[in-house]
Symmetry: C2
Subunit: 550 residues, 2 copies
């Protein structure tokens, strides 16, 4: 009856030996710290250096020190969290919410650039870091690591941490940078899986051109199946809610169904060995485009804020945990390296991180610029600089990967492996605290030094104007005549303005085939579900739309 050994009914507490007081104490401390983070974060709001993640990280560090002192150097952790908790419960709501609240137009407009950064960029960074570690570690004096360890370090340090990006970049202030850096992080997940598996099953003696082709094939399979699963889950939820009209009975059922379906999509992707991050991200996008418009007004407000709140709590929780985990004494003890070696390894990691990211951001940005004709849609150098900088932070994902590679479950870790863990930890702390706190002022200084602050980032506006011109050029949409002629015109437009026309064609397809089936803005008949909606649905609708669906 192992399942019941962890028993805690209030009725048998004092009398039962099953009661695990440690869990309750840990939960109390963690929830109290979370409350403290929220209050401090609120008070520091507007401070140009601090942000929520740094507050949580420092608070976690402080509590780690306190626990370390109280337990007399035995342990700095009060709750033995697993990566399980992180990947199964904390990460999905964060990524889902990011997809749910992302500015879809901005995201899809930059989709090619995002794919280039996420796929090619990750591969370049992986190669640079692996090669650098291979060359530099011998000079430091680390020799016990094998070729697979070097490649693993490359993969670990190249795994972009989407959670950090979310905290540092603001979608409202810098939508273009946000969509590039965050989008890269999402696509990066699929690339990482392929790379990591390739490293594990690598046969060093037998590398040919075919291997690269196979990897590309794997990536494409993973990318498309994950995306399609996410889209399917989103569409299914939209269809169920539209067809059964849940709002008639209860707004809670709608909200519950959205939450559960989103989570189910992540779990299914994990079950099918796909990229859960990609799946749940696209599920979020589809849900915000269709499902969200099919529910009652109360459900709309509730989902918007509830998802954001859950994601916010999960993020804070992660940083708090990382801060607390940084003082993992076992690791520090197992690593018999001198402080000098520790610093050298961490500095090497940080240096390679900077170089590895620079090695793909600037070249890819410039190649992407060459392919674009319009001056306004090109990525300026100052923007490139910020993309480079904002993607430098590493967080819980990196730690989880590092632990899984260099720490085995039996508890015995070799000194060099322990050194890898502690050095990764230092990289995470340093990058989050130092790079993280500099990012906000840096973006302000670099981007807003111009006189026209909006132009540099708001590449969205010109294209919208173009779109409006195209609509006029194309004539009235409603007339059914001359559709062949229009098709020819569409083809011509596709050649000259690819992005704009793809968006226009999608809109037409969406309005004609998708929305009538799956619902969406303006395609759900209004039936008053609750007093709140009956009052002024149309007004509320517009306000909320503006917030989520822009």
């Amino acid at each position: 009856m192992e399942a019941f050994s962890f028993l805690l009914p209030s009725q048998v507490r004092e009398s039962s030996s099953f009661f695990n007081i440690g869990t309750v104490v840990a939960l109390c401390v963690f929830f109290a710290l979370l409350c403290a983070c929220i209050i401090i974060g609120h008070l520091l709001h507007g401070n140009r250096w601090a942000n929520e993640s740094i507050t949580a990280l420092l608070l976690g560090l402080c509590s780690g020190v306190v626990v370390l002192l109280v337990s007399k150097g035995q342990s700095s952790r009060i709750l033995s969290f697993s990566e399980n908790l992180f990947f199964l419960y904390l990460l999905p709501p964060i990524i889902f919410n990011a997809g749910f609240q992302v500015k879809k137009k901005q995201f899809f407009k930059n989709f090619t650039t995002i794919l280039l950064f996420g796929v090619l960029g990750t591969v370049i960074s992986f190669c640079v870091i692996s090669l650098g570690v291979f060359l530099l570690f011998k000079k430091i004096g680390l020799t016990s690591l094998g070729i697979k360890d070097y490649l693993a370090v490359g993969a670990i340090l190249s795994a972009t941490d989407s959670v950090c990006t979310l905290q540092v970049l603001s979608q409202d202030e810098t939508p273009f940078l946000y969509s590039i850096v965050f989008g890269e992080g999402v696509v990066n997940d699929a690339t990482s899986i392929v790379l990591f598996n390739a490293v594990q099953s690598l046969d060093v003696s037998n590398i040919s051109g075919l291997t690269a082709l196979k990897l590309l094939g794997n990536f494409l399979y993973l990318f498309f199946t994950s995306t399609i699963l996410g889209i399917a889950a989103g569409l299914l939820s939209a269809y169920i809610i539209k067809a059964l009209y849940f709002g008639r009975h209860s707004t809670d059922r709608e909200v519950a169904l959205m939450m559960l379906m989103a989570y189910l999509s992540y779990m299914l992707a994990e079950l099918m060995n796909l990229s859960g991050i990609l799946t749940v991200f696209f599920c979020g996008i589809v849900m915000s485009h269709y499902t969200w418009h099919n529910v009652t007004e109360s459900s709309r407000i509730t989902t918007k804020h509830a998802f954001a709140t859950i994601s916010f709590i999960a993020e804070t929780f992660i940083f708090l945990y990382v801060g607390m985990d940084a003082l993992d004494v076992d690791k520090w003890k197992s690593s018999k390296a001198s402080p000098a070696t520790s610093v050298a390894v961490s500095a090497t990691f940080l240096g390679l991180l900077l170089v590895g990211r620079a090695a793909f951001v600037f070249p890819i940005a410039n190649i992407s610029n060459l392919l674009k004709k319009r001056e306004s849609s090109k990525i300026e150098f100052r923007q490139q600089f910020i993309i480079w900088w904002a993607g430098l932070m590493r967080g819980a994902v990196t730690i989880a990967l590092s632990y899984s590679q260099f720490s085995n479950s039996t508890g015995t870790t070799s000194p060099d492996d322990a050194l890898m863990c502690t050095s990764t930890m230092i990289v995470v702390l340093f990058s989050t605290i130092v790079f993280g706190s500099i990012t906000k002022p840096l973006i302000k200084a670099v981007l807003l030094s111009r006189h026209k602050p909006n132009v540099s980032d708001a590449t969205d506006l010109p294209s919208l104007e173009d779109l409006r011109l195209l609509f006029i050029e194309n004539g009235a949409e409603s007339s059914e005549q001359g559709s062949n002629q229009r098709k020819g015109s569409n083809l011509r437009l596709l050649m000259t303005h690819p992005h704009i026309t793809v968006h226009y064609l999608w809109r037409k397809f969406d309005d004609k085939f998708m929305r009538p089936v799956f619902g969406g803005r303006g395609f759900v008949p209004f039936v008053p579900g609750s007093p709140t909606e009956a009052a002024d649905e149309s007004h509320e609708n517009n306000v909320s739309d503006r917030a989520v669906d822009s």
Copy 2:
């Protein structure tokens, strides 16, 4: 590194031996079943026999059978849940939400009756069932159980299951019955703790009048400290949100803080060996009275629906789990009893449950009627009958207690102990499915057979009229003169109309001292926080108030 043995980062999935595919499969199945429950529950809405808990229970039973067949009789469970999950994560949101959405006036008006049922009633039921088991089990042929086991069975079967009550009774249709039966369940928790601890530390040879007095003292201590802790947590959250004015920056922080503080109050109560259920219930009441009015309009809608949704998911989850757990093959195998003995024991339990509840509901209701002067506030016989009936269901709490008493963590269970577990399971299934499905039609048949359907249950209305008369009698409130004279008049009123005047005095105290500090309806200055509020705060406010604060 046990903490990391349960690792599941998507990046290392295929290559890592840490990957526990069982957890992911279990989560997938559970979330899919939850979705199915919601959809089926929606389709069955309005069906007079079915309700959500029965649907979930039956669906859990069916999946248990499927798992049993697939695993060829090895196991019916796919997720080895612990009571830990139940008491730490599922129960708190349900009870908090019940406090948050309870009709406060109705609840406090019946507070004396609730206390009588919850304290005296639980003790009577405990005595009757224990005595009955003691007398009847020897006739069935069970002799291996000790005196403590008999007393434990009494406590287990007397522990009212608030979760079942919530599902079967409707607060809107039968507010009086709901407040009595649910309120009894909440107070019952504190009584159960005292009783259970008393049973465990019972020295059979040394029982005197002092023991009973000690128990009463324990109960009073537990009841008051738990309540005060909950109220303090609620007031603290109200004060923090009012003083720091969180809505200025983000609605998500407000919602997060409310969630975290509520959960923290439960954890603190558990840590201090108090009744977490009582604490979180009163925390919910205070939060809905003060905190809820201090947050932005979006936060109000979000909290109202998010708490209800989380509670709804948790409830469905519990019933699903109970259904699945019912086919715990290990228990059925360890219990070597013949089907006849199993049926006899379960029937004994059910019979004693009926008798034990009848033994306190009817006497206490009649005593309470004798103390009341007004005819309209007396509990009619048909209401007594429904109170008796609606409190018969047993659920997850009973199972958790039964497992903790009769199932030890080493996995070896004696046949008679296993029989107790399986019989409790049968009682839970039978009471939930049979009693549960009859309750709704029964209430309709018994209460609505009259011509005036509202009068029998809406005892609230006359007292409100009385209150209005008292206000007029009492003259203008705003004049500061004649306060002594009014005090005398208040005292006189307290004697003649205790309930109404307590409520009136509380209102005055609330308006004068509490609301200026902690906020509350009408005591928070309106400042537009987000576009949604700016539009028509006052209207929205009224609508939402009506929903939560009636």
